[in-house]
């Protein structure tokens, strides 16, 4: 497929650039991309003071926060690929700085930047950019490629109840996100229940996220584009020291109003495994989810968006892979 060929070419180009930059003998250039990623992982592992807080899941938040005065840098990579037709590849990246204001209140600042390739991927085979690039309207037959800064966000999480001292961990999350021609607030209720010496963790999130975009509105520059209302959940078990594995189940719904009882546009369900490793000051979390064939038409669903029971509107695709890497600063000596 053209999209996959494009990304393979990208990887090969990056690999060759790395050879040039590091001066490795040309034999290193014959290493597969998988080997290069292994090497990267080993380098990360060798960092002496790189460390971790605890995102056990790729998509579902838990109530664990940084202690007061501690900070953390996270790098997210979310790859979203495969539509019903054509080629589609969306690479979303996030660089985030987190800080523990108190032991139960955490603030974060982050920026998102993405790359997209799309060709004949939308309903009826029309080239349709991914949602971060929805401000673009390419020719229906164009090979669409773009890389751009997307948005900057401020996020706060306040923990009401700790799962270690109460029956149920409860936290409230609120985020303000602004980018080119859009503004979004994302609000989450986060629940966490622990079992088996806190090694078995259940997480549940309800998300309410109205998104305003420049759609040629009459009264103001931005007006409601959609409201995301998601139900994310996960279960994770620490099966050996430093290692946890589990499953995530996501239900994403979009509405053309501020309410969940009218103008529903899309609903999609994702399911897949998650693996988490945490060292003293470093962590990595990886999730792979696939959309389940459970999507149905609603009052405002775009015609042609659902194929084979899966929703392929511009914010949905068949597969998602998310990798989070983090380093924590401050703490025990």
């Amino acid at each position: 497929m053209a999209g996959r060929t494009y990304w393979l070419r990208k990887i090969v180009t990056l690999r060759d650039s790395a050879d040039l930059a590091t001066g490795f003998p040309s034999g290193a250039g014959r290493m597969g991309p998988a080997c290069l990623l292994c090497l990267l992982a080993l380098v990360l592992m060798a960092l002496p003071e790189a460390r971790a807080d605890e995102p056990l899941f790729g998509f579902t938040y838990t109530t664990d926060l940084l202690p007061k005065g501690k900070s953390e840098v996270e790098q997210w990579s979310t790859t979203r690929f495969t539509k019903a037709t054509g080629d589609f590849w969306l690479q979303e990246n996030r660089t985030e700085f987190e800080y523990g204001v108190t032991d139960r209140f955490q603030l974060s600042l982050y920026t998102d930047y993405s790359s997209n390739y799309a060709f004949h991927n939308g309903p009826f085979g029309v080239t349709t950019p991914g949602e971060p690039f929805s401000y673009d309207t390419p020719d229906p037959n164009a090979h669409y490629r773009n890389t751009a800064y997307i948005s900057t966000s401020v996020e706060g999480i306040y923990r009401l109840r700790s799962p270690y001292t109460h029956f149920l961990g409860v936290a409230l999350y609120s985020e303000a996100r602004a980018g080119r021609d859009f503004f979004e607030t994302e609000n989450r209720l986060i629940l966490q229940k622990n079992f088996r010496d806190d090694r078995l963790v259940l997480g549940f999130n309800f998300t309410y996220a109205p998104e305003l975009r420049n759609l040629g509105c009459k009264s103001s520059s931005l007006c409601l584009s959609e409201t995301d209302m998601n139900l994310d959940s996960g279960v994770s078990y620490r099966f050996r020291r430093n290692w946890s594995a589990g499953l995530e189940f996501l239900n994403e719904r979009e509405f053309g109003s501020y309410t969940f009882w009218k103008n529903e546009i899309n609903d999609a369900y994702y399911f897949g495994p998650v693996v988490h490793y945490a060292g003293r000051r470093f962590f990595v979390t990886a999730t792979f989810v696939e959309q389940l064939p459970w999507a149905t038409y609603h009052s405002d669903t775009l015609p042609g968006a659902i194929v084979g029971g899966r929703d392929y509107d511009n914010d949905f695709e068949r597969y998602r892979v998310r990798i989070k890497v983090g380093w924590t600063f401050g703490g025990a000596r």
């Binding site: 990623l37 490793y277 945490a278």
Partner: protein, 177 residues
């Protein structure tokens, strides 16, 4: 499949991840000297039976992680127990000294391998365990004060001491002197 390719770094880490960095505060011998100065120690390894495990879990309300417990009979009377509890990512090795009646004489943190939560070494916090009696069901924020920012470590050490007090009552007390 590209998905497999993306997960390869994790597989690499499974193979190559070495032991995590640990801060050793006290060796077993040093902890013994702190808790029982001028005493000698006779080691015993006790393997709990299924029935004993169930009894301990019932009495303490705490899951038994390891059926083997490392205990030392103290020449001046009492017991020294080296054990570990679950931390955030690693185990937290700790030691408990019990007097001849099974009451807590002291708690020592032997190693700490986590980035946060090492405030459990604070002597004032550990002092709360001294004098706790066999069979006591200690609960964080009720019997033992919590340390904000170290909640998980506080909870698990509290649970660990509770479990060892039940272990004394059910196993050590009967095992003779």
């Amino acid at each position: 499949m590209r998905a497999k390719f993306l997960l390869l770094p994790l597989e690499a880490m499974v193979v190559f991840a070495g032991p995590a960095f640990a801060t050793v505060y006290l060796t077993i011998e040093q902890a013994q000297s702190v808790l029982f100065p001028n005493a000698t120690f006779q080691p015993r390894t006790i393997t709990l039976t299924e029935e004993q495990v169930k009894s301990i879990e019932r009495a303490s309300g705490v899951h038994v992680l390891n059926k083997q417990i490392r205990v030392w009979r103290v020449s001046t009377g009492g017991w020294f127990i080296a054990d570990e509890v679950v931390g955030k990512h690693e185990f937290i090795p700790f030691a408990v000294g019990l007097d001849d009646q099974g009451a807590v004489k002291g708690v020592e943190i032997l190693e700490y391998r986590e980035a946060y939560g090492d405030q459990i070494r604070n002597p004032n916090w550990r002092q709360q365990f001294v004098g706790r009696q066999p069979g006591a069901r200690l609960r964080l924020e009720k019997d033992i004060r919590n340390i904000s920012g170290a909640t998980l470590s506080c909870k698990h050490v509290t649970d660990g001491v509770t479990r060892l007090l039940a272990t004394y009552e059910i196993v050590l007390k009967q095992s003779g002197r």
